[in-house]
Symmetry: C2
Subunit: 615 residues, 2 copies
């Protein structure tokens, strides 16, 4: 498009943003209007995208990091012919695909859900990294950011990653409209404040007037021709541009324009320009195939093996079998054992350094391109990426997260390194799966299982060695459990997972010596839980004692309730969990101090028996 | 101290770091050795600190952001006479104050728990901001960071905040020892890579050889004399410096030296230098007193008021009564209503922009200086700061967090903005309190209550207006609840909180019309829960139906279990919670679609009654 057409298209995007927000009675038209020219030029002259084939491997990828400017995105979809005007006006209504903030769950052209600021660029980095190092395709990734979100550290974590990885297939456009939600941003219209930060992280930068369509056009061209560096286009814009009543004014964030009809007239009235978006180049299919045969590691019963080791070996094996499996780690691959994968499949291994948010965002970006990522760090440090995991779930993203060094069982390093809240965090994620193996064969099997699931899959591994109690041929279904001790004389049931399975077994065996029979369930699938087995145990024994190396809130003790929340009778419940703030000590001392070792389980059971609380 | 003495002190710190790690059989001596000269010069020549009076308002504040280098910190404590050699050798043992990573829960000289990397600088920024804008004291804040942690976005979020606030009382020392846990860092010994990033964020920077004690001494002097900007000292060091077997070598992270005795000899043997640390200047007491009388806002029964509004008004009133209350917000103060406080107490209000991690870290830093911070953003976005909240709990920090816009009840903005996992996150934090008011008077009362508690206090507020159902004179204790409907014919009990209280009441009233009596409990204190009232309801009615605008995992449905996990009989349980991924819709449509509105509660109760599941 030429200058006049581009200006006209920008106005159309503004008009449609005003219209759609007015129809909804809510939304962010002023945040859309500032970026309208930036979007118009991209759509008309630079983006290569087949809206009929959003999965086309050659498509450029566009991420609206400032997700609240969804009216602009949807107006662009209309201009590209992807949606019609009728649908545009369903914005924010029940059942509409056009949500307040865009999500790929509903719209095939959206790469990742946005709306939590500072996440679009990190995910864009993940997609760009896929393009460079996995897909080997020459698609371009365009990310439109707001200026307010530049305050998020995650933006600079992403900038660091992109600069270091020389992602010249990535362009970020910062819509510097000066105004945040509640007033001026830190840097107002000081474009250089942003530019010199990006330059410090080794980006190429271009400062422009974001309403000068020719300047915008040239900037995109310069970004495309810049090699060896990502490009940041810092664009001076005005919020609410084009309508005097709101232009560059405070107090106009996140609401329809006061007088929509007048505003539309001021913008030159409705238009119906149709953009013919450039076709993507032909591109090859994704992924090498792998051998197709997963030869999981096999461990002998009675051996002492850490589940993190089994994870690492299983992941390496999975990577051999499946060409679509990739691994990412937060500079602790020697601890998580992700390094086992790195050694065998270096081309599919991504060192994310100590940057857990970017690690998860990279995984989300790669999953959006069809890869099956496993991202690993200490369980404790996955809390750093909680908001990214939450948004990944909004995206419907399929990623595997693995948290090692779970619980007080790590010992001397102390509470900062102990994952004690991770199960609660991961259980609450919509559509998640939470797995917590207690032995090496189980861990290996679950690694293969989780790779084939939907949504967020979480595997919790342990630092210390534990005895192999299952045969390598034993199978473990997601949603299952294993009954390890059982008789028709069971006085109660101990429900454990991970490290506490071994404590529960030791307690049960000691109690059996005294004639106290106790059922033991290995609840390796914490979400979903094995309702049938838990219900049977409840009926048979009447009391469940849960024991877990986790906080009592949101953990395994709460998870068993998932089997009993439909009005059926609930068994008696006793919960052994980590109720204190641990210090440094040996693993055995930690388990004892937390009241979750064999001795504690045994004491709890004896007390229940002696007090005749259980049958 | 002169050059020779400083060199000698550095060697002593190395020797003691080696000794203490050897005695423990674990620890991070090599990470301590790289920073030993930096620490020696600081301790001997620049730090002003009275170890006998750690609460002295004039004390400088030192934060070991690379918390794993705790052997260095404890060796410095020994050199300063704060601990003796015997205690030094208790490192990492059960009951010792000298944990793997330092925490203020055990050691009075530690400002904040570290060990999750990238958090020391953010908290240091909070302390420095206290010094500048609250304490008006001229203490200096020194933060020692590792180079690996520079990959964390939180470091740059903090750098942005500090540069913008001109915190010239803050000095960060980056110990660039080139080696992370599993190999070389991104930038190795490229000091300028770090320096130019800090400069971009408006810091003064100094690049030095971190083993040249005179250069280190000059750099600290230059930092002290730099006005209007924080200073970053980028120091080139060698990991394991001074012992050939480990110096600058990979694979030596986080383990005792292979041959401790030889290493100690190579370092010149044990020393017993004692540093006379400079006294702090006299400083005035903290905080203005306030009126002492909290005049909470009062709302009339039947009025429609959003709990977020009541929060804002109550916080402003609390700020008038108490001079130690401060407020922080993540650039959504117009939404959270923190702006009500800002208008009345601008000198105690801190705009943190869209930077939730830094906001929580600032609160932690201010709490460390005796202030009572309230930090606010959308409940959904507090997940961004999860790891900071977790570490605040390890610190034993007393902070108030307020999450607005809870649940699907926000309506059109969609899932990215809906706090649906916040209760699970906050419940799992050790020692936390979780409050969720349903009306304005209750919200106001709880604001005053929470300010006086220990640990992490969380208040969940709602966007929409709701009917005032309590008198302004009603009292609400933490750990309590309110029984809103009750009779001796109750067929079951509905447990609700926040927005669902109103839905539960509507359902109960509709059911009453048909002769179905239902008890209704307002469980505004989600943690701790009111065990007595829940148990009484269980005994009286035999069935609890929980209804919550939150995910079913870790929320109110799980919280009621806290009253029944000691082996006593458990009532039947039915859980109504948000089980789907919401889209955009009106608040009423959202509540209905999620199955948590009055109609859904009523239907659930009728089903239970008709199926004769309840009495």
């Amino acid at each position: 498009m030429n200058t006049g057409e581009l200006v006209d298209l920008g106005q159309q995007l503004r008009v449609d943003s005003v219209r759609t927000s007015a129809a909804a009675g809510s939304g962010h038209p002023t945040s859309s209007m500032s970026a309208a020219d930036l979007m118009a030029v991209l759509l008309a002259n630079h983006l290569r995208y087949d809206f009929e084939r959003p999965a086309h491997p050659g498509n450029d990828r566009f991420v609206l990091s400032k997700g609240h400017a969804s009216p602009l995105l949807y107006s662009a979809y209309k201009a590209a012919g992807a949606i019609d005007d009728e649908e545009l006006l369903t914005f924010r209504k029940l059942g509409s695909r056009l949500e307040g903030h865009p999500t790929p769950q509903r719209l095939p052209w959206v790469e990742t859900a946005t709306g939590s600021l500072g996440q679009g660029l990190p995910v864009g980095v993940g997609i760009a990294l896929s393009g460079k190092r996995l897909d080997h395709a020459d698609y371009r990734v365009w990310v439109l950011c707001g200026d307010s979100e530049m305050a998020e550290g995650s933006v600079w974590e992403a900038a660091e990653h992109a600069g270091y990885e020389h992602l010249d297939n990535l362009t970020v456009i910062v819509d510097v409209n000066r105004l945040g939600q509640r007033g001026q941003t830190r840097h107002g219209h000081d474009l250089d404040a942003y530019a010199r930060r990006f330059r410090a992280f080794d980006w190429h930068t271009i400062e422009i007037d974001g309403h000068d369509v020719d300047a915008v056009d040239r900037a995109y061209g310069e970004a495309l021709s810049t090699k060896g560096q990502p490009t940041a286009i810092i664009a001076r814009t005005l919020k609410g541009k084009g309508v005097k009543a709101v232009e560059d004014r405070e107090g106009q964030h996140g609401k329809p324009l006061p007088e929509a009809e007048e505003a539309i007239a001021e913008l030159g009235g409705p238009r119906d320009l149709r953009v013919r978006v450039q076709e993507p180049p032909s591109a090859r299919a994704l992924h090498s195939a792998g051998t197709g045969q997963t030869e999981l590691p096999r461990y002998d019963k009675g051996d002492e093996v850490a589940t993190r080791n089994a994870f690492g070996e299983a992941l390496a094996a999975l990577g051999t079998a499946r060409g679509d499996v990739v691994a990412l780690d937060g500079e602790v691959g020697d601890s998580t054992r992700a390094e086992f994968f790195a050694k065998e499949h270096p081309e599919r291994y991504f060192e994310c350094y100590i940057a857990e948010q970017q690690m998860v965002a990279t995984a989300v970006g790669m999953a959006a391109r069809g890869w099956v990522p496993f991202a690993t760090t200490f369980a404790a440090f996955l809390t750093r990426a909680h908001d990214f995991v939450r948004m990944a779930s909004v995206s419907g993203s399929g990623i595997n997260l693995v948290g090692s060094h779970a619980g007080v069982a790590i010992g001397q390093d102390g509470p900062s390194q102990m994952g004690l809240e991770d199960i609660a965090m991961m259980r609450a994620v919509h559509g998640s799966t939470v797995l917590y193996p207690c032995d090496a064969n189980q861990a290996a099997r679950l690694v293969a299982e989780m790779a084939g699931l939907e949504g967020i899959r979480y595997l919790r591994t342990s630092r210390g060695e534990s005895k192999v109690i299952y045969s390598p041929d034993e199978e473990f279904s997601v949603g299952g459990s294993k009954v390890l001790r059982s008789s028709d004389r069971d006085r109660l049931t101990v429900v454990a997972a991970g490290v506490t399975v071994h404590e529960a077994l030791a307690a049960a065996d000691a109690l059996a010596q005294d004639g106290i029979a106790v059922r033991v369930i290995d609840l390796y699938s914490v979400k979903p839980v094995d309702r049938a087995t838990l219900r049977e145990a409840a009926e048979d024994t009447g009391c469940l004692v849960t024991v877990e190396d986790h906080r009592q809130e949101g953990g395994i003790g709460d998870a068993v309730l998932d089997a009993f929340c439909d009005g059926r009778p609930v068994p008696r419940l006793v919960r052994l969990a980590v109720g204190t703030m641990p210090g440094s000590a040996t693993p055995a001392e930690e388990l004892h101090a937390a009241g979750i070792d064999a001795e504690s389980v045994e004491a709890a059971v004896r007390m229940l028996v002696e007090q005749a609380i259980v049958r």
